[in-house]
Amino acid sequence: MSAAKTTSVSSFKIGPLVLRLHLVLVLLFLYVPIIVMAALSFNQSQLYELPFTFDLVWYKSLAGDSRLIDAGINSVVIAVINTVVATVLGTMAALAFARYQFRGKSLLQLLLFPPITIPWLVIGTAMLVFFFWTGIGRGLHAILLGHVALSLPYVIIVVGARLANFPRQMEEAAATLGATPWQTFWRVTAPILAPGVIAAALFAFAVSFDQFVISYFLAPPGVTTLPVAIYAAIRKGFTPEINAISTIIIVVSMGIMLITARFYRFGGER
């Protein structure tokens, strides 16, 4: 951490202004569209006209839009259930990978990565066909199944990274001190693993909450999640109400990512 700080400070000192300019441009590129969109959600004009007049009218109208609100509730409920299920199952799988030798283990580990790279459109189509064929059908239950399947590899990889650095001697020490395997797990293993598990849970939440394609394919008529509802609304006509709901989603998503970064530090030890 401190090493990284020193490097960046010194590179700013030595490096040309171009470097800073580059950084500013990159950030602008990333954030200007988002900022414009968020700003327009507070603009009174329905046709996105300037001058900017601050008004919460679109947030008020959003509050009266039961379709978007229902979709929002669906999204949150699915995301929360998905987070719990995927985190528990994924953590258990990561523990199994880290702690046990079994047939086909390396093949299974290898197979974790393709789902992350396969386009969601393809996975979504596959799920739709499979669920139809097996009789699982469409609906919130199907969406949840799809989300769990999609989140699992992320959870396993994130928790697995934490487990890879896990000092087994801690558990051995606990055992010599008289702790049963159960006590050792809850009092030593789980607390040390916690930051990785929390980061994985936030990943799982984000994967589900931001999910459009899978939800779109698996939602029956009349049932939607927030991203699907937004898409449907946009097709009918763009209103600043969409800007308002999008702004809320961005605030929530960024909040989650910031918390994730706080726990996870992307692979590094805290």
Binding site: A173, A175, T176, L177, G178
Partner: protein
Amino acid sequence: MSQVEIINAVKRYGELAALDHVSMTFKDGEFFGLLGPSGSGKTTMLRAIAGFVVLDEGEVRLDGKNIGATPVHQRNIGMVFQNYALFPHMTVAENVAFGLDVRRVSSSEQKQRVSEALSMVRLVGLEARKPKQLSGGQQQRVALARALVTRPRVLLLDEPLGALDKHLRQEMQIELKRIQRDVGITTIFVTHDQEEALTLSDRIAIFNAGKIVQAGSPGEVYARPTNRFAAGFLGEANFLSGKVGGVTNGWAQVALDSGAIASVEGQNLQIGQQALLAVRPERLAIHASSDTTAGNNRLAGTVGEVIFSGNSTSYRIHCGNQILSVFRQNDGQAILASGTPVNLTWEPDDAVLVAE
């Protein structure tokens, strides 16, 4: 306080025998060092006593009772790990209290015993710190306090001082010895550092290739090694090979390969059999080559490398096709120059007959 016995222990990893029919008794209250190169089986034996390794054959007995089937957490054995394995999410006091807490000792007694343990290792005042905020030496002390607070029957130390710098290591050696003596606990430790083994142990065992090649007090093993490995691993040794020429009253005359004759104490020797002698570098005396006194235990040679290290000097002396190492205190004698012809002599008692 307890006695630990290892009886005919065998542990195989595939083709490799980490323990190859090893037996050893660790006496009550003894400070015992397991010494050997890495992969020689010493750590496997320690882990078998702790219960992390299940033996393929043989027994681990604690006070006469076979504990082979007892799980680790029921053995009541204290262990200090090489990297201490302190729990990073707990304070010093919580780390030390852990073993009491899982045994459901009342919190008032926990407090009392934790503070006793911390004062024993001289860490009072650091109760609220996290392990990361401690120096290596302090972490070592916490690990020791944590291992001893449950009043285990045996204390196991895995390379206890390996992670410390030299100065701290010497300080902790004295500390460890003091604490071990005060508590009176049977202590078994693993090390590859021979100085550490010699300093700390009441007895040592030297491991090689899954077997104990020699065990005894440090002085005994150093002075009377029984085999080539023990002689060469613990300290430095010069090896002289030859054939037994005659035996009288338990003393043999060995005709060395260089042509010289050496006397050595040895039982059951046959005339004509091969013999290997070990002589410590500090037991060889260097004389000027003009001194031509005849007699046994004498080799002519030439000074090769001279390694001056302040209070002492090490010489490599070329004797025929062999290079012998000689260690001399710098107590006023002139330092010899490379190329000087010399005679080496030793007392009959200084040579030890060792097995190949």
